[in-house]
């Protein structure tokens, strides 16, 4: 029994699976736990396969091989990896470098690689400049090769890898004809396939960046994905400044002044990349990111210092956002900056 159709006997099952440094969850309607597990197995085998392809924590991954060798010589890679890199380059170009998978060295200099971050020395930071930049990566479509133009380039798939894994896993769900499922890569990228019985779609709540701020918007998704970038999981405070694990490759520093960026797109790869690009982009560049992408939407929450020192306010910016936004919840951020870990 490989495929299921929704029938009155179908129940909702949740399968969890650790991968890519987080826990994936798959919600799925099935007549029995065994049948839910039978569908989930190949879905997560696919997630693990992508992890083995793209992980920069695994020396044996294809991405790690490229990281090791692509400065010395042209590295011929498989079509899947190659077109994944092509997609990444396209997002770098579109975002004018705000999205950039060449931040691997920066993540290490700021100690966000396998750790929760620390302020680098000025020497480390200066040295990192030569080792970052998407324009130092050359892709040759004819030869299907990758080449780095700087010795220290390191690709970090953190801003897009989970989205890509979700897309690939959803292909399996479709092939198994799962009528309704929700796949979440640790909540930062979510794909909604079909809809639960009697519902218009799957509900996804966008929280306030303030831990006690509740939900600022609830969207109903069907056959599309949503991704969120925020700093709540990896961050540190240095000299009263709050630094999170999303890098601006142009300044070589963590982005400041941003709280959260959420994007909706039919492709989870795109929503993942877009949410990170929105987080890093300058305000005037954000709308351009969605230009010509009629199915994409965004909800960005930024913070600004106002009035006296240590007084903060949050404001949101919605681009084609399909649901209401509870502005009142954002007000809770004001004066709360000191006690929250954004």
């Amino acid at each position: 029994m490989d495929t299921i159709t929704l029938n009155p006997a179908a129940q909702l099952y949740r399968t969890t699976h650790p991968a890519m440094g987080t826990e994936y969850s798959l919600y799925l309607y099935a007549p029995s736990r065994e049948q839910a597990a039978a569908i989930a197995r190949p879905v997560f085998e696919e997630v693990d396969r992508i992890d083995g392809l793209l992980s920069n924590y695994r020396p044996g991954s294809e991405l790690s091989r490229i990281n090791r060798e692509a400065f010395q010589h042209d590295v011929t890679t498989d079509p899947e990896t190659f077109y994944f890199l092509v997609t990444c380059m396209a997002w770098s170009e579109r975002s004018r470098g705000a999205f950039d998978i060449s931040v691997g060295k920066l993540m290490k200099v700021w100690k966000f690689f396998g750790a929760s971050g620390a302020f680098p020395s000025p020497e480390e930071l200066a040295a990192a400049r030569a080792d970052v930049g998407w324009e130092k990566i050359r892709l040759d479509r004819g030869q299907r090769t990758v080449r780095f133009l700087a010795a220290g380039i390191e690709l970090d798939p953190g801003g897009v890898g989970k989205g890509y894994a979700v897309d690939r896993a959803v292909r399996i769900l479709r092939a198994k004809q799962a009528p309704a499922a929700l796949l979440s890569a640790g909540s930062s990228t979510i794909y909604a396939l079909g809809a639960p019985p009697g519902e218009a779609g799957w509900k996804v709540r966008v929280p306030s960046p303030h831990p006690e701020g509740g939900t600022i918007s609830t969207v109903i998704l069907r056959d599309t994905s949503l991704s969120t970038a925020n700093l709540s999981e990896k961050n540190f405070v240095h000299d009263g400044h709050f630094y999170g694990a999303i890098m601006d490759p142009r300044t070589l520093r963590p982005v400041e002044g941003m709280a959260q960026a959420t994007a909706i797109s039919p492709s989870a790869t795109d929503s993942d990349a877009l949410s990170n690009a929105l987080f890093v982009s300058r305000p005037e560049d954000r709308a351009l990111l969605l230009d010509g992408r009629q199915q994409d939407c965004a909800l960005v929450v930024r913070e600004k210092q106002c009035g006296q020192e240590k007084q903060f306010a949050a404001e949101y910016e919605a681009i084609r956002w399909p649901a209401e936004v509870a502005n009142g919840q954002l007000a809770a951020l004001a004066n709360a900056k000191e006690k929250v870990k954004l």
Binding site: Y13, R14, T15, E23, G114, S116, S187, I190, S232
Partner: protein, 416 residues
Amino acid sequence: MNRRSLLQGLSFSMLAAKLSGASSLYGQAEGPQAAPSRRIAANDRVNIGFIGPGSRGQELLRQLLRTPGVEIAAQCDVYEPRFAEVNEMVGKKVPAHKDYREMLQRKDIDAIFIATPPVFHATYAIAAMKSGRPVYCEKTIGFTQEDCANVVDAVRKTGQIFQVGHQMRYASWIVESVNRVHKGDIGEPTHVYGYWHRNDNWRREAPNPSLEHLMNWRLYRESSGGLLEELGSHHIDIANWVFGEYPQTILGASSIAVYHDGRTVGDNVQAVLGYSKGRRMFFSSITDNGLMADQIWIYGTEGSLQITLEDATFYKQTSKTITEASHSDVVQEGVETGASFNADSAMPYRGPGYRLQAKPGEDATRTACGSFVECARNKRQPFANVDVGFGSAIACSTGRQAVYEERAMKIPAIHV
């Protein structure tokens, strides 16, 4: 002498003659030595008679000297230079005997330690118990299957306190680890893998060639069960403890890979022991490479435990996919989006494991000696009692043949 007689057990006197070249020291008789000892009161000093203070024996002796209320009252060895070594270690002249029976005749000895080659363990232990003394006997409790049964029988008949030298049972971190395994911390334990790898030739310097067999008794089949018995018995005991039963079968192999020096036991050994429900214990010992050292891995259906001589680490299976019924709130309330990084699983591929926070453990042999003295005073059977000793000894006495002939053998359940 054919293989069969070797394996089924040489008589004590034959072995004594072989090892020391002085059979007269031992004579032929091994009957009970009627020398009822005094009763030990709770605060009395416990007078120890020590048989076999060689290399392992002296380690035991050193730990015994760290136990309060203990007097080393007698020593016994066929190799006289040991006496001076013991006197130096104890800091005074300890009355010496070349015949254990003479020592057992004394009235002022309360308990007996035995650290001779294992071929003598059963004989000495049985005689000591019959003489009315509690016994601490190094492993293995018997060389032959018959020895093993006889020692158990003697404990039953004399009611004496008997402790086997499986000191790992007294290491605080091992005790706590095994308790956790029994509570289900790694699911159902199904496999125990013991590694005892070292890089030395296992050879002692013999002062002259006539003493080769006495000094290097571990290297010859007449007097030694080889690496399986000398090292593997400790790990087999851990497996018995974890599985809560004795092994039923043993498959063995060994060879001489490096030290072609006339020894007749292997310089490496591999053994697979079968327990009920298909559970397995694997033991490997090599002597030309120390990687892995002395460690035991216990694999369960939900995790693993690594035990070393210093610590214990639990590893939970990190790649576990779980499917279960979901609450329908997900449909009504929705799911929340947010950052996905989870610090607890940053490196799920090779997690650091959970190190057991046991109290810093003192030397396990020290604890074992102290516990024995307490048991002797309070007339309690110790944790590492004769049943524990039987479990590893019967496996090793059977395993000797399995290893030499490279075959699988049934381990008799002659003691239940």
